[in-house]
């Protein structure tokens, strides 16, 4: 007879219940006694028969597994339970045998349900990858498997459908639900030339998309990959627990044998075997980690594993990169001043020098120039990028330098210009100077909008007990100071070259312990990589940050950082609760058994209950929301 797990549990439950009633009523009907030697023998009664039946039905898989494992010379928990059950039969405790096997079966069944539930949010995510993609092939619509779509294919997506590629919109307008990537379910409007991601849904509208990334290269696939890997990366505590439990089980077995040799009390030794598996302790951590990762994924926060969460939860200092992180990262030119030349001339030459640069400041200058002067087609004859400082170049046979103050340290600058620069910087402006041959001929002021959420974020972080909020920037001290004042940042370090950011970070780590580095993964990649914990924001579409950061906020909403840190702390708290509870129960049980207050079935009951309580406690992490602690 083949039974499913559920059927087996139900049948055993009925039999156990029935035998319990008969036992309590002392209905020893159909009594047959058979003694094979003096007092030794069987007393067959109806309740006893039912108890044996129940034991066999609920225990058969346990015995089988125990036997199979034994063939590989493995002592499994099933073996210990089997020994206990057989032992119980020998001493005539049919009820105990039936109860223990039933409880073990029921416990395992309930545990599997809870564990499935814990893993569900991750599983749902993994199952939500696009199944079919509609492409336009020679004017005809054609349905393809995601693996058959190539870069450059034209993809059509209709209302309610899922987008199956990363791409650029060629035609159409739509409201998209990007929750699967960013965790934000608020629909986002996208039109021509907008970027769309695989895994997102069209709520209303219609899009024709040119695929730029397909299959495994899409942001969504990368998210899935990270999440899948992360769930089995162990937290540090877990490794200690595994070491402990490795000795715990054999330790209890030895204890059981020793007790039997000394006291000849088989009952006591058997009970010890039943509680020899520290199930609650072993599950205390991995289930909390999985819940936390699942919660993060649902909110657009990618975590690389349990150890990352642990570190984040412990960190007391958060260091931010400025540009693109606390600010939007899209600076605009606010003022141009010409010295001896017209402002248009300054703008034009600067734009030409920056032709090949991708730096956000360069982009801003080019943009402003083309807005004001129309498209500029001229190019410099020679350019040389000076990282962290600016650019040197030749245009119409004249040598130019364009960059920040540091590029000009060995040059005498007029007092009046210095004053002007300082004044601009103290209003939070970034200042770029243009030098022609040996003469400063222009000053360009740029400013970068502060992100809406930045101020609230820093307030929330302090409320959460983050001791220090630090800003690391390549920008000038005056504008760094300006921003720190506005945002409430405790310390700032300005004019840092990329490698100096790394040094500063290491210094902070030495001083304050685990330090979180938050950046956008573009110009702060080295610092993100080297930090104890690197958190990248705006991860969608940015492969680099998804690779190097330990935690990635998929959307641009830096406010989610509070959720990421809060979640990590909550996870640590829940793990601590779980471990404490599991240890108290384990030692309580041990003591209870030794002083003979806990018998076989009670021992098993408490053991299984403690496992389930630990699981349910971990499950709470799935529902964690940040609103409950800050706001």
């Amino acid at each position: 007879m083949k039974l499913t797990k559920k059927q087996r549990v139900i049948v055993s439950a009925i039999l156990v219940f029935l035998s319990f009633i008969l036992k309590e009523l002392k209905l020893n009907i159909f009594k047959v006694e058979y003694y094979y030697y003096q007092d030794y023998g069987f007393v067959i009664t109806l309740p006893n028969v039912i108890m044996v039946m129940s034991t066999v039905i609920s225990g058969i898989t346990i015995f089988k597994n125990a036997f199979n494992a034994l063939r590989y010379k493995l002592v499994s928990i099933e073996l210990l339970v089997s020994i206990a059950v057989i032992g119980a039969f020998i001493i005539g405790e049919y009820w105990e045998a039936a109860a223990v096997t039933f409880l073990f079966l029921l416990g395992a069944f309930l545990e599997s349900i809870t564990i499935d539930k814990t893993r569900k949010s991750i599983k749902d995510l993994l199952d939500s990858s696009p199944k079919i993609i509609r492409i336009l092939d020679n004017g005809r619509e054609k349905l393809l498997n995601p693996s058959d779509v190539k870069v450059g294919d034209i993809v059509i997506v209709k209302p309610g459908e899922q987008i199956g590629v990363d791409g650029i919109i060629l035609e159409g307008k739509a409201y998209l639900n990007q929750a699967s990537i960013t965790g934000e379910s608020m629909p986002v409007f996208k039109e021509e030339n907008g970027t769309v991601y695989s895994g997102t849904f069209i709520e209303s509208g219609y899009l024709i998309i040119k695929a730029t990334k397909v299959g495994k290269d899409t942001t969504f696939s990368k998210i899935l990959e990270v999440v899948e890997e992360a769930q089995d990366k162990k937290a540090r505590v877990q490794r200690y627990i595994e070491k402990f439990s490795k000795y715990y089980t054999p330790g209890i077995i030895i204890l059981a044998i020793t007790f039997f040799i000394i006291t000849r009390d088989l009952r006591l030794s058997l009970t010890l075997l039943v509680i020899a598996c520290p199930g609650a302790l072993v599950l205390s951590t991995p289930m909390a980690v999985v819940s936390a990762i699942g919660n993060g994924a649902k909110h657009g926060i990618l975590v690389k594993g349990g150890e990352t969460l642990e570190l984040i939860g412990k960190a007391k200092v958060v260091a931010f990169d400025k540009t693109g992180t606390l600010t939007v990262g899209k600076p605009i030119v606010t003022k141009v001043r010409g010295i001896g030349v017209s402002t248009d001339e300054v703008l034009k030459i600067s734009a030409i020098l920056e032709t090949y640069s991708e730096h956000p400041l360069a982009q801003a200058i080019i943009k402003k120039a083309s807005e004001k002067l129309g498209k500029i087609d001229e190019v410099p004859t020679k350019t040389n990028l000076i990282i962290g400082k600016g650019i040197a170049g030749v245009y119409q046979n004249k040598h130019y330098l364009l960059g920040n103050y540091r590029l000009f340290t060995n040059l005498k600058i007029d007092y009046e210009i210095k004053e002007y620069i300082a004044q601009e910087e103290s209003r939070g402006q970034t200042v770029i100077l243009l030098q022609e041959e040996e003469q400063i001929i222009g000053v360009i002021s740029l400013s970068d909008e502060i992100r809406e959420e930045s101020k609230q974020l820093i307030k929330s972080l302090k409320k959460m007990g983050i001791k220090k909020v630090v800003m690391l920037t390549g920008d000038n001290p005056l504008s760094a100071n300006y921003l720190s004042q506005i945002l409430g940042i405790d310390e700032y370090y300005a004019e840092l070259m990329p490698d100096e950011k790394v040094d500063k970070l290491q210094e902070l780590q030495r001083k304050y312990g685990p330090t979180i580095m938050v950046g956008d993964g573009i110009n702060d990649a080295p610092a993100l990589t080297l930090a104890d914990i690197g958190i990248a924001i705006g991860g969608s579409g940015n492969d680099v940050s998804m690779e190097i950061a330990d935690m990635v906020l998929m959307s641009d909403n830096i406010g989610k950082l509070t959720h990421g840190i809060g979640l990590s702390r909550k996870m640590i708290k829940i793990i601590k609760q779980n471990i404490t509870f599991a240890l108290v129960i384990a030692f309580g049980l041990l003591l209870g058994v030794i002083v003979q207050k806990v018998n076989l079935s009670l021992g098993m009951l408490i053991h299984e209950l403690s496992v389930i309580i630990v699981l349910l406690n971990s499950l709470r992490l799935l529902r964690y929301r940040v609103d409950s602690i800050t706001a």
Binding site: N68, A69, E111, I122, Q231, G279, V290
Partner: protein
């Protein structure tokens, strides 16, 4: 040398994980075996001249765990 990942039925007790892992490691021809608890997977590196992935599945199934997929 060949690598294979088995998708197992959902693993619900960590002790089963240890069981499968040890059994695989003790099997002749297996160079490396790791069982991932949360994703319920077994990652095995083995010598295809000594053992096949079919044999590996047999080991896991004999222990009482279903193998759902292989890749």
């Amino acid at each position: 040398m060949q690598k294979v990942i088995f998708q197992l039925e959902t693993l619900t007790c960590p002790s089963c994980m240890a069981k499968i892992q040890t059994a695989l490691q003790k099997t002749k021809g297996v160079l490396e075996a790791e069982v991932l608890f949360n994703s319920s997977r077994a990652r095995v590196t083995f010598d295809e001249e000594q053992i096949s992935s079919k044999d590996l599945i047999a080991v896991i199934e004999k222990l009482g765990f279903k193998v759902i997929g292989e890749k």
